[in-house]
């Protein structure tokens, strides 16, 4: 299809995979007309993590008002929509189903196409919104509370997965250590803050490199080692320096993330590295990655914090590229809590 055929494509995007009810209206994929994120973080804080049933209940309470706000802020009505994009996995199945059911209903009622989007893929596209000139190919590190993926993006919709975590996601490890340190949920931003005051070389925590040729990650060993350290200090009756633990733990995580990403970029001869996902908001990760990219003559891009964390704009952008390449979903589309991000070529 010619480019003209896709002028002024208006996307309504819905994202409810975890604890944010988010709806965005996008123009031609990269222009954000509105991006409403109704966070439920207050609802989950007292439980120390996201409770799936509580999340689903908040989504259904919020979704229609968030849709209404997104349209109002974009100054558009349902008539203006070209298609609907929606996250169908991975995520909490009950939460996903609220957004997916609403998206299917709108697509059918308005007689417009539906485009299901993989949430992990969506994170990459946050960069296309932030950096208007950005084009594939590039090496992408996706790190969030649920995902840790190293992906070589050759073209839109064309990916090669080089590595992923074999156990916990990087962000999940941050949250678990945060809880052990008695920090507020989510632990990631809190640890990042504390790290700035701590000595990152105070404690040597292990880093798992796995097999020589592997680009996979593993964080469960590191997590156990931090928990063991906290336990043994407690047994000895010693007071733990939380800042030092936070800084040393964070350093272990980001060093391994940065090293593997740079190695992959060099192997793939990709001159550009892109960060995505909630953990891409981590200042320690950004700084170390910047330093290493500079040292290796690589370019680096990452989204602003608002686009790093879960939001519907990134889903809308990914959905737009699905739309213009003719990849549509039908009304049978179901939520897939463990939807994989696999090698794909279109």
């Amino acid at each position: 299809m010619s480019k003209d055929a896709h002028e002024n494509v208006i996307t309504l995007a819905i994202e409810t995979s975890c604890d944010e009810t988010s709806v965005a209206v996008m123009k031609n994929g990269r222009e954000v007309l509105s991006n409403i994120v109704a966070s439920q973080i207050d609802q989950h804080q007292k439980y120390g993590g996201v409770v799936p049933e509580v999340a689903s209940r908040k989504h259904i309470e919020n979704i229609n008002q968030v849709i209404e706000r997104a349209l109002r802020e974009a100054d558009l009505t349902f008539e203006a929509l070209t298609h609907v994009a929606v996250t169908y996995g991975p995520g909490l199945v009950g939460a996903l189903l609220v957004g997916l059911s609403a998206a299917k209903a709108i697509a059918f009622a308005r007689g417009i196409p539906l485009n299901g989007v993989n949430h992990i893929e969506g994170h990459i596209y946050a960069n296309f919104i932030e950096h208007k000139e950005l084009e594939p190919p590039f090496m992408c590190l996706i790190v969030s509370g649920g995902h840790t993926h190293l992906i070589y993006m050759k073209n839109y919709g064309d990916y090669e997965v080089l590595g992923k975590t074999r156990d916990d996601a990087a962000g999940e490890t941050f949250d678990k250590i945060g809880r052990a340190l008695g920090l507020r949920y989510p632990g990631g931003p809190e640890i990042d803050k504390l790290s700035k005051k701590g000595n990152k070389e105070a404690i040597r925590f292990p880093k798992a490199y796995l097999e020589r040729e592997s680009h996979d990650f593993s964080f469960s060993g590191l997590k156990s080692s931090v928990l063991n350290y906290l336990n043994s200090e407690k047994m000895k009756g010693r007071k733990v320096n939380i800042e030092d633990v936070a800084a040393s733990f964070q350093q272990s995580v980001i060093e391994i993330l940065v090293e593997k990403t740079i190695k992959c970029a060099i192997e793939k001869q990709a001159p550009l590295i892109v960060l995505a996902g909630g953990v891409a908001a981590n200042t320690g990760l950004r700084e170390l990655m910047k330093k290493e990219c500079f040292r290796n003559g690589l370019e680096l891009r990452y989204p602003s914090i608002k686009l790093c964390t879960d939001n519907a704009a990134m889903i809308g952008c990914a959905g737009y590229y699905n739309y213009i390449s003719g990849r549509f979903s039908d009304l049978h589309l179901n939520a897939k809590s463990n939807l994989k991000f696999e090698n794909r070529k279109t």
Binding site: K46, Y47, V51, E53, V54, S56, R57, H59, I60, E61, I63, N64, Q65, I67, E68, F78, V93, G94, L97, V98, G99, L100, S101, A102, A103, K104, A105, I106, F108, A109, R110, G111, D330, L331, H332, N334, A335
Partner: protein, 251 residues
């Protein structure tokens, strides 16, 4: 008045379209596939086969619950988003009432039971009087043993409907040998979208339809995590007041 109505409170997905009092089409699938897979294609099919368009529909009706939490949310999210995007009104109905309508004009007590997991049911009792369904006992969650105890005091015939019948039929029969209990045939045990549509029509005639934002699921039960949290808070409070009491005693 054109109505689209659905119910996803039980394992069966059911969709109907009505024009005034007339049932134009009804479509039920009662298999192991999820509501998410079945519901939207069924709506599309039923509307298409009657040559309607989505924008023809005046009012949207849905069962609010009680029932499977996820099932309810799929149905309600679907109805609300359709109505919202077409700028139409909605009507939410009780899934217990919907079940009671299956035994229209029957003489006796109607007792819908909907599976609430952990050996419990969502239930209420109804009877028919002068063309009108009358609620005898308010909706509640009862353990199957509590339900059996409550049954013992009933006189007259008690008719059971609802998806929990297959699960508890034997346990109910066994404990209530002296009560006159009837379990109707399978087709009468499940909710029907036609009934949701008919109740919606009656509400619409009385001007009792609502805006999309004003209907929410009727869970009748807090989430497991909320219950646990509240129990823990209660325990902490108790311990605190106990400690305060101890302190006072010492003084």
């Amino acid at each position: 008045m054109k109505i689209l109505a659905l119910d996803t409170s039980s394992p069966a997905t059911t969709v109907a379209i009505l024009e005034g009092e007339k049932l134009v089409a009804e479509y039920t699938i009662n298999n192991i596939n999820t509501h998410s897979q079945k519901l939207m294609p069924m709506i599309a099919e039923i509307i298409k086969s009657c040559k309607w368009r989505p924008e023809d529909i005046d009012v949207f009706g849905v069962s609010l619950g009680p029932g499977s939490f996820t099932g309810l949310r799929i149905g309600i999210a679907t109805i609300k988003a359709m109505a919202q995007s077409l700028n139409k009104k909605v009507c939410g109905v009780s899934s217990l009432e919907v079940l009671a309508y299956n035994l229209m004009y029957i003489d006796g007590v109607i007792c819908p039971i909907i599976d609430a997991q952990r050996d419990a049911v969502y239930t209420a009792t109804y009877k028919w009087g002068a063309n009108r369904l009358i609620q005898l006992e308010k909706p509640s969650i009862l353990h199957i043993d509590e339900l059996n105890t409550a049954l013992a005091s009933k006189s007259g015939i008690v008719y059971f409907v609802g998806d929990a019948v297959s699960k508890f039929r034997l346990r109910i029969e066994e404990k209530n040998k002296d009560v006159n209990i009837v379990f109707p045939t399978e087709d009468l045990l499940l909710p029907r979208a036609y009934v949701v549509g008919e109740i919606t029509r009656q509400h619409a005639l009385l001007g009792k339809v609502k805006n999309v934002r004003d209907i929410t699921p009727v869970y009748m039960r807090k989430s497991h995590a909320e219950c646990q949290y509240e129990e823990r808070q209660l325990r902490i409070e108790k311990e605190k007041s106990w400690l305060v009491g101890q302190k006072k005693n010492k003084e």
